[in-house]
């Protein structure tokens, strides 16, 4: 960006989240995860390792909390004091929420993480200087830092194993931050194909994230939130969750809503792009 553009358009460039004047057009990628369907099996997380060149850090580094799983399956208990967890465990796949007003974006000194016009929170590895401010300010702690130089670490990608690396995704060296990208390489590929063919990306499985594609219970749906025909749009509408609100009208209803859609830490107003659907438990048994 030239200096002129910088001064003229800075506010525009760093738009907060879509509002009347700058709507998302034609894409806004978003997700819905049904926690009632999610079984916590970890297939999505492994698929993410396969798709996004995530390093396997090994036992010691995992013990040090330096694991690099972009998608972690969290297991919660009820902690109600009973002898057994009689209603099972609660699983939550936690990944980057691709916030519209992302706390990480504003604080990065070099603008290595920023918002794309199609509503992604992008992370530019080669711009990152490793100040780790973004992760410090992330309420979900879903950003992962390359504490070590994994490409040159023993047994991370030894010979032959490195042949599996996805050439569409940069292999990150030491000192850069990384996180879930909603499989941006797939998104850009699909957008590019659609553009070449003079159409929009279809909602028929043309574009799936790796986790969504693997998920055995199809708990994850992903798509274009501004496309009224897309499944994600319909889900968000049905659950009455609006993207750029930090308090949903349905939650104000007396007695609470019987809709399942919610977003984690919505009240903090980062406007996350992932809607979860509450898990349900039968009371008659």
């Amino acid at each position: 960006m030239s200096i002129t553009t910088l001064f003229e358009n800075y506010s525009e460039f760093r738009h907060r989240h879509p509002d009347g004047d700058v709507p998302h057009n034609p894409y806004k990628w978003a997700m819905a995860i049904d926690l009632d369907a999610c079984s916590g099996c970890n297939a999505c997380a492994v698929a993410c390792y396969a798709e996004n060149n995530l390093p396997v850090v090994g036992r010691e580094k995992f013990a040090n909390g330096q694991v690099m799983h972009w998608m972690r399956i969290e297991r919660y208990w009820d902690h109600d004091g009973s002898e057994f967890p009689e209603r099972g465990a609660r699983y939550l796949p936690m990944l980057c929420q691709q916030c519209e007003a992302a706390p990480c974006e504003t604080v990065c000194p070099v603008g290595a993480t920023n918002h794309t016009p199609d509503g992604l929170n992008s992370q530019i590895y080669n711009r990152c200087i490793g100040s780790r401010y973004c992760s410090s300010n992330c309420p979900y702690k879903v950003r992962y830092f390359n504490w070590w130089d994994y490409p040159s670490t023993d047994n991370v990608w030894p010979a032959e194993m490195n042949m599996q690396l996805n050439p569409d995704v940069t292999v990150r060296g030491k000192g850069v931050m990384e996180k879930c990208t909603f499989c941006i390489q797939r998104i850009r590929g699909a957008e590019s194909d659609a553009k070449t063919q003079g159409r929009l990306v279809r909602d028929d499985g043309e574009l799936q994230t790796a986790c969504q594609q693997a998920c055995p219970t199809s708990a994850i749906s992903f798509g274009n939130l501004v496309d009224p025909e897309s499944r994600v749009h319909k889900q968000w509408m049905a659950q009455q969750v609006e993207l750029n609100k930090h308090e949903q009208a349905k939650d104000e209803e007396p007695g609470g809503s019987d809709l399942r859609g919610y977003r984690v830490y919505e009240w903090l107003a980062p406007y996350p792009s992932i809607m979860y659907l509450e898990r349900v438990r039968e009371t008659e048994i």
Partner: protein, 258 residues
């Protein structure tokens, strides 16, 4: 002492001002393409090709690659004469379409080097040059079924994912621009070269300058070009005086870096 200080301060000021200006000036980049090929203003193109000012050009180019503004001469296993294949008829060339050999460009990220098979496909029936040294070399590779170890001339860093496909699709197929002109935006006038040399900076600024230009997305009358009346950039499109909707090229970072 004081005058020395004063002078150095002054020089420093000039330097900073010069560099700021240089960086603010669009670097040598193609002209904003019109709706169709006829709309090109040649004069405008020339001006734009020469960049902003000589001084800023010099500064930016010096930073990028030293005093020479063209990339280094690359020694190739076979000195491939681009001018002979792609050059104009009146200059002894055959005006072969770039995409005849660089056939992947329109459907892949990379333009691709043609397989040896392709060279042989034509050359096996061109007897008059069959015994020239370079052709002999070519056949030697073919007979040994070895690929020719061409050197990369335009080698972007690994974290840049430039898509030939999108550029060819947009400019050649959707805007009907001549192929050689489109390729030339980044590769220069290859039809006059033997072994290709890098002509443009290909720095990020080089890319960004072009992507900041507002390109037409509709033809006059509001017909979307290539069915694409939408935009991917940070800024809203604008409708210019002639009623053409113009938008920036895709210019968020993750277009190329992912």
């Amino acid at each position: 002492m004081h005058s020395f200080l004063r002078l150095s301060l002054l020089l420093l000021g000039f330097f900073v001002a010069g560099i700021s200006y240089a960086a603010d000036t669009p670097q040598s980049n193609p002209v904003d393409p019109g709706v169709d090929g006829s709309a090109i203003d040649k004069a405008a193109r020339q001006k734009s090709d020469s960049g902003g000012s000589a001084f800023s050009d010099w500064i930016t180019k010096y930073w990028a690659e030293g005093p020479d503004n063209i990339g280094p001469a690359v020694k190739q296993p076979i000195e491939f004469p681009h001018f002979r294949h792609a050059g104009d008829h009146d200059k002894g060339g055959m005006e072969i379409n770039c995409m005849y050999c660089h056939t992947y460009a329109r459907r892949s990220l990379v333009a691709g080097i043609p397989p040896v098979q392709k060279c042989i496909g034509c050359h096996q029936s061109i007897d008059e040059v069959r015994n020239k040294p370079r052709i002999k070399k070519l056949f030697a590779y073919w007979d040994a079924k070895k690929s020719i170890p061409w050197k990369k001339v335009h080698d972007l860093p690994d974290f840049v994912r430039f898509s030939h496909e999108r550029h060819i699709q947009r400019f050649v197929f959707q805007l009907n621009r001549p192929v050689q002109e489109v390729c030339g935006y980044c590769h220069g006038n290859v039809k006059t070269m033997t072994v290709a040399r890098r002509q443009k900076l290909l720095s990020m600024g080089f890319c960004v300058t072009c992507h900041e230009i507002k390109h037409p997305v509709t033809a006059p009358g509001g017909i979307p070009i290539g069915n694409q009346a939408y935009w991917y950039s940070m800024r809203k499109p604008v409708i210019d005086a002639s009623g053409i909707l113009k938008a920036q090229g895709p210019n968020d970072c993750s277009v190329c870096h992912k």
